[in-house]
Symmetry: C2
Subunit: 209 residues, 2 copies
């Protein structure tokens, strides 16, 4: 089993999700939530709240690796700085805990979980819910995005998954990772997840913090 923590960085809501990758491409939810910060507090205090929240998850869930959504300098200048700062803190904390860190772009994440790099938030949430066989969709969307990051990371593989394989040679990581970005992985996953969603009991509630 490889345990991955995904982080959708943000200052107001920082989404995170932890999943276990099982042999044969199955994925299981470990925990999911959102670190919220108080907009009335000074920026430094809010960044500390993000750091404290993510540190608590790292210590409680003990992931093997961390995936953080890549932040681009784009349109929304008003929020980009806080997002970049939160992402930097997430990456630094992962390194501080000795974990490999990778970044994935929003379109990589969308393509990995829905098969479409331009899927909307509702489609991502729907597929995350199905892939993990959850009784209800994780809310808010930031929490689902954290899970999508973690699932994308498991399925895309990449340098850190290879790193995990080196660290944990008894774990068949290779069985979990397909060719990077291969579109058929998502399609296979969809079919498998749809079947799993039908087969599994639905009483489980997602504990969004």
């Amino acid at each position: 089993v490889v345990r991955v923590m995904g982080v959708d960085p943000g200052l107001t809501r920082c989404g995170w999700g932890v999943v276990d990758g099982l042999p044969g491409r199955r994925v299981r939810l470990v925990d999911v939530g959102v670190v919220r910060t108080d907009p009335d507090l000074p920026l430094a205090q809010r960044l500390l709240q993000v750091a404290d929240g993510l540190t608590a998850v790292l210590r409680e869930c003990l992931p093997d690796s961390v995936a953080v959504e890549r932040v681009f300098a784009r349109n929304d200048v008003s929020t980009i700085m806080g997002t970049a700062q939160a992402s930097g803190i997430a990456m630094m904390l992962a390194a501080q805990h000795g974990l490999p860190v990778d970044s994935h772009t929003p379109s990589e994440v969308k393509a990995a979980v829905t098969g479409n790099g331009r899927a909307d938030k509702a489609q991502v949430t729907l597929m995350v819910t199905r892939i993990l066989g959850l009784a209800e969709a994780p809310r808010p969307a930031d929490a689902a995005d954290g899970l999508a990051l973690a699932i994308c990371h498991l399925w895309r593989g990449g340098p850190s998954a290879a790193h995990d394989q080196t660290l944990h040679p008894h774990h068949p990581v290779g069985a979990l990772t397909g060719t990077a970005g291969a579109p058929t992985a998502a399609q296979t996953a969809w079919a498998r997840a749809a079947a799993a969603a039908r087969a599994q009991p639905k009483e489980w509630r997602v504990p969004v913090r």
Copy 2:
């Protein structure tokens, strides 16, 4: 005495400077340096190096407050993300150590130490060297910028200086802080620093790390 740590955030070179504010607007150098990171390392490792370096300074120099240069989403998109991430880590660490944090814009810093908001790097370094009565200019420029941040913070006052005053009522912070951004403060400082530079011995070397 109020001790201020200034941080010029950066990923390749993160400049920092610590100064003591003395009654009557005099400023004394405590320590100055640069946290350098290895460009060949993964981003998360580099951010951890920045965090470890700044944490060491916080623990060794024990500042009363921290001033971080404000990062804008501007022209140089290639480096802005690393700079924003480093600034977020600096602010978060200061909050983690229970210290008040303020940001100042580059033009505020330039105006505070040179009297001209559009001064170039050489002018800022020259004035920092004179204000602190140093035998030679702190190098690289990022180290001088860290000191300029700290000096700016002392002289501009603002919320955190007021906060310091509350925390340390026995320290006459009011005597150190002028009207925010008043241009005459820098002019007074220039005259005082020029006199101090002439009066002081020159054997002291700046320990840039």
